[in-house]
Point group: C2
Chain length 306, copies 2
C-alpha cells in the first residue's frame, strides 16, 4: 500500500556520477523515515541516487546542535539509499556544498571555504575554480609498519581475475582495501558484479578499489574501479580515490608525488596529500566537479507501491 504524503522540494546532483537526492530544509522540519528515504532514492519509482542529503541548519537538528563551533552553520544529514544513517560521503560532501551555493544559502569566491557539520565531524570545503575540494582527513594505513613496508596486509580474490592478489588496507573514516593491477586491459576485464573476497575481512566488510598506475611525471595518475560494500560497483567513490592514492604512495616509496589524478568510470578526481604527513595524517584533499542537474517537487511515499 502506498500512502501519499505532501510533495517536497528536491534537487538532483552528482560528483563524478556519485549521485544524490538533495532536500532543502531551512526550518528542520523534514525528517524522513528509512522507507521514505529508500523510496526517494529508488531509481525507478523515485528520483534515484546513491544517497539522500538533507541541507539543514546545525541549530535545527537536536542530534548535533552545539557539537560544532559557531562558524559551522550547515549540517549535511546524509542517508544511504537503503535508508540507513551514514557518517560521511566524500563526493556527497562536495555536492552538498554545490547545493548550498545553488540555493544561495552560501556564496564562495574562488579559493573561499566553508566548514560543514557532518556525523564524522566538521569538514572544510574550498572552491577551486570549477572544482570543489574537501578535506577528508584524518586517514591511516592500517596494519602500521609491516603493511607500510611490504605494501600488503590482505589477500583479495576478484571474480574472473588472477587467483589471489595482495591488497593494502587504508582507513579514511571508512575501510578500504586497495589492489594494484598491471594494466588497464586487466582493469577493464575485472568482473565486479560479484563482491571481491578479502582475507582477512574486517567484521563489517570493506570497500575494494582496484587500480592501475598510469605514466606520470610530477603529478601521480591512477585508473580506478571500486566495489562499495553493500552496494556493488559504482561510478565513483571519493574516499576510495583517497585510499587508492594513499596506497600508491606507500607502493611508490619516498619518491611518490603528493598530487594525484584518479580516473574513475564517472570522471576524474584530484587527490592532494600534504607532503608533511607521509604515512599517517590529519589531512587529505579530494577535489572534483560537483553539479546540480535538476530541481523540482516530488511526492514522498511511505512504504512500497509494488
Amino acid at each position: 500500500m502506498t500512502v501519499q504524503l505532501p510533495a517536497v522540494r528536491f534537487a538532483k546532483g552528482h560528483g563524478t556520477e556519485n549521485d544524490f537526492v538533495l532536500v532543502p530544509d531551512a526550518s528542520g522540519e523534514f525528517d524522513p523515515s528509512p522507507s521514505q528515504v529508500s523510496a526517494l532514492c529508488d531509481r525507478r519509482a523515485g528520483i534515484g541516487g546513491d544517497g539522500l542529503i538533507r541541507a539543514v541548519p546545525v541549530a535545527a537538528v537536536d542530534e548535533v546542535a552545539g557539537s560544532f563551533g559557531p562558524d559551522v552553520v550547515w549540517f549535511m544529514d546524509y542517508r544511504n539509499a537503503d535508508g540507513s544513517i551514514a557518517e560521511m560521503c566524500g563526493n556527497g560532501l562536495r555536492v552538498f556544498v554545490a547545493y548550498l551555493e545553488h540555493l544561495g544559502w552560501i556564496q564562495l569566491a574562488d579559493g573561499g571555504t566553508v566548514t560543514v557539520g557532518t556525523r564524522a565531524g566538521a569538514k572544510r570545503v574550498r572552491r577551486d575554480g570549477d572544482l570543489l575540494a574537501a578535506d577528508l582527513g584524518p586517514w591511516r594505513v592500517v596494519g602500521g609498519g609491516p603493511a607500510a613496508t611490504t605494501g600488503s596486509d590482505a589477500r583479495v580474490s576478484i571474480f574472473g581475475g588472477p587467483s589471489v592478489l595482495p591488497g593494502l588496507s587504508i582507513d579514511v573514516g571508512n575501510p578500504h582495501v586497495v589492489v594494484a593491477l598491471p594494466d588497464t586491459d586487466r582493469l577493464a576485464a575485472a568482473d565486479l558484479r560479484t563482491q571481491p573476497m578479502v582475507d582477512p575481512s574486517p567484521p563489517d566488510g570493506t570497500n575494494v578499489e582496484i587500480v592501475v598506475p598510469l605514466p606520470h611525471r610530477e603529478v601521480g595518475h591512477l585508473a580506478m574501479r571500486v566495489f562499495e560494500r553493500g552496494v556493488g560497483e559504482t561510478r565513483s567513490c571519493g574516499t576510495g580515490a583517497v585510499a587508492a592514492v594513499l596506497a600508491a604512495r606507500v607502493w611508490g616509496g619516498s619518491g611518490a608525488p603528493d598530487r594525484w589524478l584518479v580516473d574513475v568510470p564517472g570522471g576524474r578526481l584530484r587527490v592532494v596529500v600534504p607532503s608533511d604527513s607521509r604515512l599517517a595524517g590529519e589531512h587529505v584533499e579530494l577535489a572534483g566537479p560537483a553539479t546540480i542537474v535538476a530541481e523540482g517537487t516530488i511526492k514522498v511515499t511511505e512504504g512500497s507501491s509494488r
Copy 2:
C-alpha cells in the same frame, strides 16, 4: 566537454517501474538530439529513465501531422534511453496518458478514453479506476499453425538454467519469445545478467520473457521476468506481459481464460484478450498503475560531462 543549454520542464513517471522522463511541449519546440536524450535518461548524471516521452500536439510535429483522424490531438514522441527512435512502449503509453491528465491537458472520467498518436499508429487508452488500460493490438502468434499447435518454435538457453528450453514467438508490434518454467524458485534463480540465446534468432534480436503459471480459477495468473533486447533485465515490460499471456493461452488450449494478472518485479499488470480472437487478433488490453512522481526543471546538456 559539456555545453549547457536552457533548462526545460520535465516530469518523472513510471508504470510498474518502467520509468520515463516526460517533457511537455505544447508548442512543438523541443526536439532533443540523441545525445541530449541519453543525457536526460542517464540515471546518475541526469534524471534517468527507460526512455524519454515528449508530449506534443500532433499538429506541431511534421513527421506525423495529418497521419491521424481529427480526434487524435496528442502525439507520444517516444525515444529510447540511448537516444534512438522507438515505435511504441506499452507502459510508456499508459504513463503518457497519466501525464496528459497531470498537466490538465485532458480529463478522463472513470471509463473515459483518449486516442493517442504514436509511431505505431493511433492507440486508445481508457481510465479504469486507478488503472490506465491501453489497447496494444494488433498481435499474432509467429509461425502460424505449427507453433500454435506445438506451443514452441524456438530454442532458448538461459545462463545458469536447464540447457535448452522451448520458446514461443509472439509479435506485439515488437518481437518476443516466451519460455515457461515449472516453478517460482527456478524463475528467481534464472540469471538474466547475460542475454538469453534464442535459436533461430530474429535478425534484429528479440525480447525474452520467462514465465511461471500460478494457480488460478477464472482469472489467469503468471509470474514473469523479462530480458529486453539491447537493455537487459527490466522491472517490467508491457508488450512482454501481453506476449506472455498470449503464449500461455496457446499452451492452455481452449479452456484458457481471457483475463490474466501478470506479476513482474515492478508490480502487477492486467491483460485482457477479447474472447472472439483466440489465436490472432486486432485487440489486446494492457492495464496497470501509472504514476507521476516528480516534476521540475532540468539542465539539458549536449555530449558527455565525463
